[in-house]
Symmetry: none
Subunit: 236 residues, 2 copies
């Protein structure tokens, strides 16, 4: 019955427009009563996004099942892929909905609130993992936002192309960019070298005074240098 | 009259609650007619956020006035600071509104849509600047989202603390983290300075090989160290 309600709703949204379709119209076409509709969907908006609640629950469960040795940024990227899978399950429905959502401000607002909930789920997990790091909450919020933005950039490109091509490859590529910026492969502490620092690969030495010396290859990306510094400072 | 309407609205929102206050109540207290209200505010939500339209316009103008030699990530961080300035202009009003927004789902949704518009303004600028880079749109979207998340992380901490402390310092610190992850200053070789680097405060010396040496006081905040590295790398 749930699927029948979604199908009836979309048929009417496409024929008459979203605003011109009432819940009464939907239940009449589906041949059920109003109470059945509201048993499945709190509002007319919800019938447009029938699977987000399940997907949010899946994501939360996935993150809750994480283990200590899961690299956190990679883990949230994997969690974000669950959203893509939901869209890719039914490309033509996803493309229809994308077009509808672009036209109806109320649905855009609904979608933003759903995206926000995904982002908070990712951030909550990262906040836990980064609890003992300096600026842990800040990192968690920024990385969660970056993961969501990358995922949605690839997802929207795919939807705009009418669901052509491999959305999974595009999303993986986009998430790879975020991982390259934020990935937190641990940088182990290293002793001060006896010789003047060698040109590679980013050893870290400490002086007895209140000073940190970082030596990095000039070509090293800034984020990697920063990571080295942070790791050293955090060891005190 | 605009300020009087905002003041009347907030007085009623705090006394009776947001949902229980109508536009008629607000105009009665302010001593004006309904049409005056709607001349300034399209809806009751808008009176809660009276300055976002101006701030969005300021941000758009600021970005439009950018020059080619503005480093793009730094530029969007500076643009985001305009939002903070708006909040910091009137801390007690901002704190009141933050509490109200947390309690009223409709206002949360409104706020998300405003945040989304800021994010799109930043992303649009970055897309233009990154147009000739591989994955330019992806980078633009991810960096815009990261900047907004960092800004809002610091802003919300400040609002939760009832507007105590220096919000500007907190936001600068948060944005420094984003810049450290994404900043695009080119890394090129530099000439060898005559002396080896002195131990403090964060002088930077270079060797003839492909190496950067940074010496920083251990107590120096990370963003300051990052800034020093960035400055050095950018000097080429």
């Amino acid at each position: 019955m749930r699927d029948a309600l979604v199908a009836a709703a979309f048929q009417l949204f496409l024929e008459r427009g979203y605003e011109q379709t009432t819940v009464d119209d939907i239940v009449a076409l589906a041949g059920v009563g109003r109470r059945s509709f509201f048993r499945y969907f709190p509002s007319k908006e919800d019938v447009v996004f029938p699977d987000h609640e399940r997907c949010l629950a899946d994501m939360t469960a996935f993150l809750a099942a994480s283990e200590k040795d899961h690299e956190p940024v990679r883990r949230v990227c994997d969690a974000a892929r669950l959203v893509l899978l939901m869209y890719a399950e039914n490309p033509s429905f996803s493309v229809q909905r994308y077009r509808l959502t672009k036209k109806v401000p109320g649905l855009r607002a609904y979608e933003l609130s759903v995206v926000w909930r995904y982002e908070r789920a990712l951030a909550a997990y990262l906040r836990g993992r980064f609890a003992d790091r300096p600026d842990g909450d800040l990192r968690a919020d920024v990385i969660a936002a970056a993961v969501v933005a990358a995922h949605n950039n690839a997802l929207r490109s795919w939807l705009r192309s009418d669901g052509q091509g491999d959305a999974g490859v595009a999303v993986d590529h986009a998430l790879g960019y975020v991982r390259s910026a934020f990935d937190s492969a641990p940088a182990a502490p290293q002793p001060l070298p006896a010789q003047p620092p060698a040109p590679a690969p980013a050893p870290i030495g400490e002086r007895p005074e209140d000073v940190v010396v970082v030596v990095a290859r000039r070509g090293a990306p800034l984020w990697r240098v920063v990571q080295e510094i942070e790791t050293t400072l955090a060891q005190d």
